[in-house]
Amino acid sequence: MTAATRAHRWRIYVLEARYQFLMVLREPAFAIPTLLFPLIFYLFFGVVLGARSFSAAAPTYMLATYSVFGVMGPSLFGFGAGLAMERDSGVLLLKRTTPMPAAAYLLAKVAMAIAFGAAVILGIFLLGAHGAGVVLYRWQWFALAGVVLAGVIPFCALGLAVGAWSRGRGAVAITNLVFLPMAMLSGLWIPITIFPAALQDVANALPAYHQAQLALKIIDMDGGQATLLHVAVLGVQSLALLAVAAFGFRRAGTGAVSMRPGGTS
């Protein structure tokens, strides 16, 4: 591969990501919930309510969990709903006839999720620091940002699986059905320790729970399970979800279903 073709391929990745980002940024139905909801939730529950307690623990705990929540949104919706809708509209099919590498398309969505996630967590961090007096060691701020952003991997894998197995508007509904209960049951809004034991067991099956525990580990507010356990569960779940997604695409194609006889329109 010559330098020119390398530069050319690199440019595809950059532009695909750029326009993916611009595209969803200009889509109020996507941008407002994913950018503002975690910030508003954190402002209300973490800063306004949490700051009334003597301890700064509640705002600090929620700083970590709402950040995970904030990264989960763009990852799930970008892949789950976004991918299903782009497949339905045929854009994905059209792009697959061009020299665009499939990876550019997928990585663009991951990059978009990271960009949105970074914006959300920066907002949450600033709210927590200046609104609720959250104080962390510098390495903790950076590590927290890093670990939380690494959550795009399992969440994008989950979104990809949802997107592969659902279509259009249905994908939005399914994504919401995954998103909100998982956030709740994983302790992203309130610590799961207040839940009944059975629900706490459910949390152990959810990637968001393990992601949140890893984030809480940085500020030493996790439940005390092993780091390796969380990383292993997330790794296995991500691979399993990617396999589920791959199977879904193989079954449905990238949009070719619309070419069945009688399906043309």
């Binding site: 339905d88 509209s89 697959r96 020299p99 009688g262």
Partner: protein
């Protein structure tokens, strides 16, 4: 560009479950030509296009583009396509879409040229979602040309457009034809194929039932339907030259023929009392039917 044929389907059969979309299709796209694949809905046109685009796997037979597999990277770089899709994302502007698609190709056309070729100068700053149906199709056309392709597929480019807008788009496609690019377009409008194509392949129920210059195809599908009350039997008219099909409908004898004058003369000869005679032009469907009859029944024309 030394390939004798730019793209080819050889002996291709394609099934969706039990439904046969293409059956033993041979299709050749020659360099520099505008080939129209003509056929009614469900004839297999889009399936044929997607086999040549590599977005459907070949089940039986062979598909080649520029002598390679249709999904080979080198093929993608020299090919453009306009598909029957609802569009590209609404929230990006025309020039942003063009910028992105140009980036996919190693030697893209200049953005200004593309705008001119598609006739969309002046709307490049508008978001795709704000455009009219015709403007959207022109943008999709521009996207198909971004990579300065040697081969362009236009899958029903004017479907869903009103007559005026459709004719406007024809202008762009016709101008594009002059650029010497090989173009495959699918349509179910004979008129569109006639207006744009150098050569027409007629697909019906997954088979190629006719192939030739537009004038040839047009004459072969210029059937008329003759209807009257007469005592002449169905069998008796079947042997009249030009008759494609004959049948009885209630009191009426209905005959489909490419030579209505000869038929009417023959009918009056045999039954001077015939009445209630009407001669009407047959629809495209019937024209295809005529062609089908020819292709389905290999025995000598009756």
């Amino acid at each position: 560009m030394s390939e004798p044929d730019i793209a080819r389907l050889s002996g291709v059969t394609h099934r969706y479950g039990s439904v046969v979309a293409l059956e033993e299709v041979d299709l050749e796209v020659r360099r520099g030509e505008v080939l129209a694949v003509l056929g009614p809905n469900g004839a297999g046109k889009t399936t044929a296009i997607h086999l040549l685009l590599g977005s459907l796997p070949v089940q039986t037979g062979k598909a080649t583009v520029f002598g390679q597999r249709p999904d080979a990277p080198g093929v993608r770089a020299r090919r453009g396509a306009m598909l029957q899709i609802s569009g590209v994302p609404d929230t990006l502007t025309v020039s942003e879409h063009i910028d992105l698609f140009r980036a996919y190709y190693p030697t893209p056309l200049a953005a200004a040229d593309l705008l001119a070729m598609a006739g969309i100068e002046g709307i490049e700053g508008r978001r795709f979602g704000k455009l009219s149906g015709g403007q959207k199709q022109r943008v999709m056309f521009a996207l198909a040309l971004c990579g300065d392709p040697h081969l362009v597929f236009l899958d029903e480019p004017t479907a869903g457009l009103d007559v005026e807008v459709r004719r406007g788009l024809w202008e762009e496609i016709r101008r594009h034809r002059e650029s010497g690019r090989t173009t495959v377009l699918t349509t179910h409008y004979l008129e569109e194929a006639d207006a744009l194509a150098d050569r027409i392949v007629v697909l019906h129920r997954g088979r190629v039932i006719a192939e030739g210059a537009p004038s040839t195809i047009k004459s072969r599908t210029a059937a008329r339907r003759v209807r009257c009350v007469t005592r002449v039997t169905v069998d008796a008219v079947a042997s009249v030259p030009g008759v494609v099909r004959s049948e009885t409908r209630g009191q009426h004898l209905e005959v489909l023929t490419s030579r209505p004058e000869a038929l009417v003369r023959e009918l009056f000869d045999r039954d001077p009392d015939l009445h209630d005679l009407t001669v009407v032009g047959a629809g495209l469907e019937e024209a295809f039917l005529a062609l089908t009859r020819e292709s389905d029944e290999p025995e000598p024309v009756r």
